[in-house]
């Protein structure tokens, strides 16, 4: 089976600006991949190419085996743009109904009800979009992306306007989608969020992937901390494999060992190292 999303040598130039410089990326079936990078790194451009909003200058992008932008590719995906708006005069239910009809979904009222419930908007089904908070609109946007049970979800900053409770709702929703076999490409600035839910992470900088792997692979050993009756001692360069030996040596030396901690870098450390401390 073809990967949910496959990007090969993807490049995009806007005039003199090279937004993407030959990016390779793959999202497997039922995989949740996080895309990280500072503003201007090319994350949104990559997602826009994948959904067919932007034409690549070089390279290919395929969604569910179909060329990005083709009818088959669009039929297989659900998308939430970073900057989007629904017509203010539509109710939440009408927005979903519109997208059901455009997506050819036969889910009807039951699907709309289920989706609104998933994003905690059941009580707002008849509320007009222009009467909703930004967070509610973003949750409605997530529900809209799920219309028609897409095989691939591409979400560009889906939690940027959400409060912690809303973020948790979306995070649980993403995990639920992954459990159902839906593939997700999540573009977000929120490192903790990515670390919590993503199977793999790709870090983009200046239009190139500078680091990629599972959150575990990306974390680097930073030593072992040994807590004994003499206090806390940090052994730099030591790894998880060294821990039993270090404990044995301490005990042999007559020390009382109270605890041992294997230290690894967080995704944040890796990210900052990868982007060289570059900020927006």
């Amino acid at each position: 089976m073809s990967p949910a999303l496959a990007v090969r040598g993807l490049a995009k130039r806007f005039g003199s600006v090279e937004a993407l410089k030959g990016v390779d990326l793959e999202v497997g079936e039922g995989e949740l991949v996080g895309l990280l990078g500072p503003n201007g790194a090319g994350k949104s451009t990559l997602v826009k190419i994948a959904v067919g909003l932007v034409r690549p200058s070089a390279g290919t992008a395929q969604v569910a085996g179909a060329p990005a932008g083709s009818r088959d590719a669009r039929a297989a995906l659900g998308y939430l743009a970073e900057l989007f708006r629904f017509p203010g005069w539509y109710t939440a239910d009408e927005v979903l109904d519109l997208h059901q009809r455009l997506a050819g979904s036969r889910g009807g009222e039951a699907e709309r009800k289920r989706l609104l419930e998933l994003v905690a908007l059941s009580d707002a089904a008849d509320r007009r979009v222009d009467g909703m908070s930004k967070g509610m609109q973003q949750r409605l946007g997530v529900a809209q992306a799920l219309v028609g049970e897409p095989r691939v979800l591409l979400l560009d900053e889906p939690t940027s306007a959400l409060d912690p409770v809303g973020r948790r709702t979306v995070r649980l929703l993403l995990e639920q989608m992954r459990d159902r076999g839906v593939s997700v490409l999540l573009n977000s600035h929120l490192l903790s969020e990515i670390e919590l839910v993503c199977d793999r992470v790709a870090i983009l900088l200046g239009g190139e992937v500078v680091a990629a792997g599972t959150p575990h692979e990306l974390s680097k050993p930073r030593g072992v901390e040994l807590e004994t009756d003499e206090g806390v001692r940090r052994i730099d360069g030591a790894t998880r494999e060294d821990a039993p030996r270090l404990v044995a040596e301490a005990v042999a030396a007559g020390r009382q060992v109270y605890g041992v901690h294997v230290l690894t870098s967080t995704l944040e450390d890796t990210y900052l190292e990868a982007v060289g401390g570059e900020t927006d």
């Binding site: 034409r55 009818r71 669009r74 998308y79 743009a81 989007f84 455009l102 809209q144």
Partner: protein, 285 residues
């Protein structure tokens, strides 16, 4: 329901919510009322006007054709206003506001989306133009007992002119911002009207240069040529001094007319539509 119907309905609801219809219908009601008053007073006064004995002018035909021509100009203008406001932000405007992206990524496709917006706007504008055209003609017919020589074709040509403006506005919406597009389309419309007047002046002065320039403008902007042809048809059978005077006026002359311009208009519409679809298919959103 097909995707086309969904998008047409979407555009219609958008127009209703933005009060486009409310504004245009209000202006139309005001226009038709003033037009009725104009007809009432003109034809009332007409009975007291007697041309000089040696001047053989059919005053009723002259007044009826002049008033109907005026109404056709207003109909075209209001139709163009409606067309432009329905379509000026279809691509760039909606993309800037983030309304377009969620729709474009759906399986409907860009060409269906643009075509549906065109059909929606065209349906509304054609219905509007025909209602106002026949309404104004009926007012003149019932008030002044004067009816155009050709009744249906001029209305269809006016509607055709508005359809061309819709296509131009949609093309503009792909490549220009909403404001720039609105200005560009109204400037084209104004340019076309000036070219039409220029043609009348050129023929009256027998100036080859002016008529040549106006002919080029008529082919370049066929909505104007269709409007002129529609004007020509309402007094197609007027002859003698009456016909001559009507040809001289702003609401009577047509120097590019007939099936050639109608066929050209269809080809022009297809070309503009194809260009808009091509440009939209390549547009980054």
């Amino acid at each position: 329901m097909s995707s086309v119907a969904v998008i047409v309905e979407y555009g219609f609801r958008e127009a209703v919510r933005r009060r486009v219809f409310a504004v245009v219908l209000l202006l139309t009601a005001l226009f038709l009322f003033l037009f009725y008053l104009a007809n009432h007073f003109v034809f009332d006064q007409l009975q007291t006007i007697t041309p000089p004995r040696d001047v053989n002018v059919d005053t009723r035909t002259f007044a009826g054709a002049f008033l109907t021509g005026l109404a056709m100009f207003a109909t075209l203008f209001l139709g163009v206003v409606l067309a432009v406001f329905l379509t000026l932000g279809t691509v760039s405007g909606d993309a800037e506001r983030g309304l377009l992206q969620p729709l474009v990524v759906r399986p409907v496709g860009r060409s269906t989306l643009l075509l549906s917006r065109f059909l929606g706007a065209a349906g509304v504008c054609v219905a509007y133009v025909l209602v106002v055209y026949f309404g104004a003609m009926t007012i003149t017919g019932l008030t002044g007992h004067w009816w155009p020589d050709v009744i249906v074709w001029p209305g269809l040509e006016l509607a055709g002119g508005v359809i061309i403006v819709i296509a131009l506005s949609l093309l503009g919406s792909v490549v220009l911002s909403s404001t720039a597009n609105g200005i560009a389309v109204f400037m084209l419309f104004g340019g076309g009207l000036v070219a039409g007047l220029l043609a009348s002046i050129g023929h009256a002065l027998n100036s080859h240069a002016i008529t040549h320039a106006s002919t080029i403008a008529a082919w370049a902007l066929p909505f104007e040529a269709l409007y002129q042809d529609a004007l020509r048809m309402i007094t197609e059978n007027a002859s003698g001094l009456t016909g001559f005077l009507l040809q001289l006026g702003p609401f009577g002359g047509a120097y590019v007319h007939g099936w050639e311009i109608r066929v050209w208009s269809v080809a022009y519409l297809v070309a503009i539509g194809a260009l808009a679809l091509w440009a939209f298919s390549r547009r980054n959103l």
